[in-house]
Amino acid sequence: MSIPAALRRRTPRGTPATGRGLRLPVSACVVAAVLLAVVLVPLLVPLDEQAVDMTNKLHAPSLAHPFGTDDVGRDVLLRCVYGLRVSLLVGVVAALTATVIGTAVGAAAGAVGGRTDRMVMRAVDVFSSVPHLLLGIFIVAMFRPGVWPVVISVGLTHWLSTARIVRAELLSLRSRDFVDAAVSGGASRWRVGVRHLLPGVLPQAGLAAVLMVPHAIWHESALSFLGLGLPTHRASLGNMIQDARGTLLAGDWWPTLFPGLFLIVPTLAIASLAGVWRERINPRRRSELML
């Protein structure tokens, strides 16, 4: 007997079941490969990614140089790995910074409520009315080029959405009957917060942090591309794409293509993993799984 179409369980957002099945292993493999590469390559390959060799400049991909060489003879594969290493470091640290700030602000607004909540959230609205790339450029411009100004810039401009998510989640949880039951059962404010509210908020904050990582990586690359991120001699995906713009017009595609792929593929994989996580912790999805 076939199940009526209206009763059949739907895949989330209409994605075909096969695509959903592959998404997790493919994304996990890509992220694992990237992590292994950025950790192991600098330890195992005794080459200098900044070493210039003008006799080898702009060599097309070959066995000796799988991704070719750039306009000053540096190995593109090695520089891509080092560039991704920096981008991941900046992405993870900046995302954690933004999440900590956002969670603290959102939790304070949601927990205190009333006038404090309104004032904090209006301040968040004002802050978010300024384009964050512009604000980021302003912040990095105050320091000398380096990794930490980029981390500070991305961290200080990306906590707003986390603050909104945490506050909204907290307000939603606060009005639930189980919180009323805890209050009626004699729980202190601290216990209600730590035992009932925080565990409900942390998965959302963690998810926001993971979703922030690819965004932060793109920001770092954008700042480096504009010449405001890492110093130009350091391997960074943004720097590499910026340096290779001229060679692309001459028909040398590899110094641009591979850093671009190194930027797109890992960030899509991280975002995809975060998407799987979001589906798992989404209560509607969870109740679907229980049926």
Binding site: S184, G186, S287
Partner: protein, 235 residues
Amino acid sequence: MTPNPPALELRAVTAGYDRSAPVVREASLTVAGGEAVGLLGPSGCGKSTLAKVAALLHRPYAGTVHLGGVQARGWRHRAPRAQRTAVGVVFQQPRLAADPRLTLAALIAEPLRATGRKTEALTRTGELAGSVGLGTDLLGRRPHEVSDGQLQRACLARALALRPRVLVCDEMTAMLDASTTAALVAVVEEYRELTGAALLAVGHDRTLLERWCDRTVDMPGIALPARAPAPGPNR
């Protein structure tokens, strides 16, 4: 000799979620010690809001609440713990009233742990679960792994954990079948017999509340429609 003060008394309570349009206006209600009162009213008339005011979980715009003759001076966390825990509450929807992360054992023990009685929590959790008819095999499960009836039993055990002097049951049996309803009502009655606690049972099932409670009152300030005749088989 002065007569015993009522276990729960609401005097001219006005409450709601918008000061310009309160849900409950000037409602007064008295529940004597050991008495069971059924509060009847149609959906949306403010019964649950009044129940939350009685349990000191919702601050009214006007009026006072007295527990054992003592006026409540605060609401939610601002109410003294002794007053808050003097009223046990069972909510209508057990799924919303149970923290999804806690096992049933942790759920039942939560009021004891929250009030610093950790050793008592270890010994009394099983006893409380047994008193509401929950098997020990269910205590390690989380709310999504048990039925509504089993979860409501756990919620009732949680409400009884601190031996409240007043029990507020806000449509406790609305989502349950007849046999579970009968079992939960029996547990409440057994507890009341044992402790002499008062009961405020909120609902719209007149038949149930009239059988269960010593008296029923219609939601104060609400004009109830006349009882309609029972629908015929073709309706």
